[in-house]
Symmetry: C3
């Protein structure tokens, strides 16, 4: 495997593990049992990529390669047994930022490599990075990340757009991937460190 | 393009724009930023048709033709910049009625044209017309349109059934489309103007 | 049709009808109209199998065979007209247990028969058995069955795993189906009769 492919695979599994753990932590907050931990871990870890694959009519990535789901379940066990992530909200935020930035680029890359037009490929990057968390919040009966003012969808959008833009300009794949990842991660880091926000709707709320 | 196809395309884009705006207005109510406006606009505008295409195993319509998503984003910008729709609840209700009636017929038509049996084609019309709004409400953490007493699913069902019924009787396409649209629109208009309702469940609520 | 296939078909329709009725009962609780009854019945009855078919890239089972949706609508009419299930929570719980156990096995069987790897086939059984109820609860704006402490996902998981395990060991299909069904049903029966629970997360809830 060439270095780029190896890096992408590593980023992919890292994102699955981090999102899986965030799903399990949502289950921990409500004191659920281990099965529900696993359910939330799996749905958060692979949910975004599942939606992407359905939309671009690709075989859903984890069905033929269940190790992705196994990684989620391992993350759930880690949260349960070792209390991974508990009381480490800051660490988790940073891991989640890595996961989000990875998924934004990996999601867009999979779309472009299957011939999806650039605009839709950006959408796929955004959905891959954000929809697992959205499904987690909906199923946990919580307001979703879409409803928080913190920048989350925005960095995913920027990262996916940077990657797709560079890719369309025939920049070498490794460079486009790296720049997309860094763009998403940097904007998210600004949100975590400095509370960066976009302005809310200035008009009347009706 | 023949007149029927041109009309259908126009109705299709009109429905996307109207539903997109309704998604952006949901975001406006919570004072979200422009990215969330776009997210809600896109998911509301194309959500119902996306579910339809997944169910009938057609390529998801907007992936290869991202202009549909672009229309949603334009509607979101319109709401943000010009306050489209704000304080115009009545106007919006009527535009939404046109969108719903269009989607009910367009959704059923796409299904029948791909060989889906009549009964399922009616279901596709209903889902196309209603599911974008359902997803919008679930993601906005609001009770969905399914839970309101106002007639909304019912006119979509009637419009889709009228179209599919006439189509099965080999009525010319333009006539079937027009009658289906008018049936859905008329029933919805009755709900808006006169508060038409179906009777609620008369039994005990347990 | 051989006896196994006939049994499977019967279990399949029984599960659709029971889940359809449970969807209609959710609508009855909120005093909805008959159309919403039908919508909830259909989405609860066929939702889990729909997700399974999308994930394994099979044609969605009810699109070409709308009689499945018709069974849901008949269940909705039964609840509306005859008050089926109302005041019979215990009876319903047992019927639901049969439906859940059927779907866990039928869902896993469909996946294995299409060449899905064993681990993913278990996931498909679990999703088929539980996701209709999850969608019902999300759309009814209720906390989903995932959030209750009662054993529900767990028996589905056990039933699907027993079936897939025996199937992988080349046990005859009828035996594997029966053992899977009984495993799921027995564990669920224990939950209903004796309040069986899995231990909740023992750590801090943050």
């Amino acid at each position: 495997m060439d270095p780029l492919a190896a890096t992408l695979t590593a980023l992919d599994y890292a994102a699955v593990a981090v999102f899986g753990a965030s799903g399990a932590l949502a289950a921990a907050r409500a004191k659920h049992d281990i099965i529900t931990f696993g359910f939330f871990a799996a749905i958060t870890g692979v949910g975004g990529g599942t939606l992407r694959d359905l939309l671009i009519d690709a075989p859903v990535f984890w069905v033929a390669r269940p190790q992705y789901v196994a990684v989620c379940l391992a993350a759930a066990v880690g949260v349960w047994v070792f209390g991974w992530g508990q009381g480490r909200e800051r660490t988790l935020l940073w891991l989640d930022a890595i996961g989000m930035a990875s998924y934004a680029v990996v999601g867009a890359l999979k779309a472009t490599s299957l011939g999806v037009p650039p605009f839709s490929a950006v959408v796929m990057g955004v959905l891959t990075a954000t929809f697992g968390g959205v499904i987690r919040d909906v199923l946990a009966h919580q307001p979703s990340i879409l409803l928080r003012r913190e920048l989350y969808v925005t960095p995913a959008l920027i990262g996916a757009a940077v990657f797709v833009g560079l890719d369309a300009m025939a920049v070498p794949g490794a460079v486009a991937v790296l720049m997309g990842f860094l763009a998403a991660f940097t904007v998210r880091a600004g949100a975590i460190l400095f509370g960066w926000q976009m302005p809310g709707f200035p008009g009347r709320a009706e």
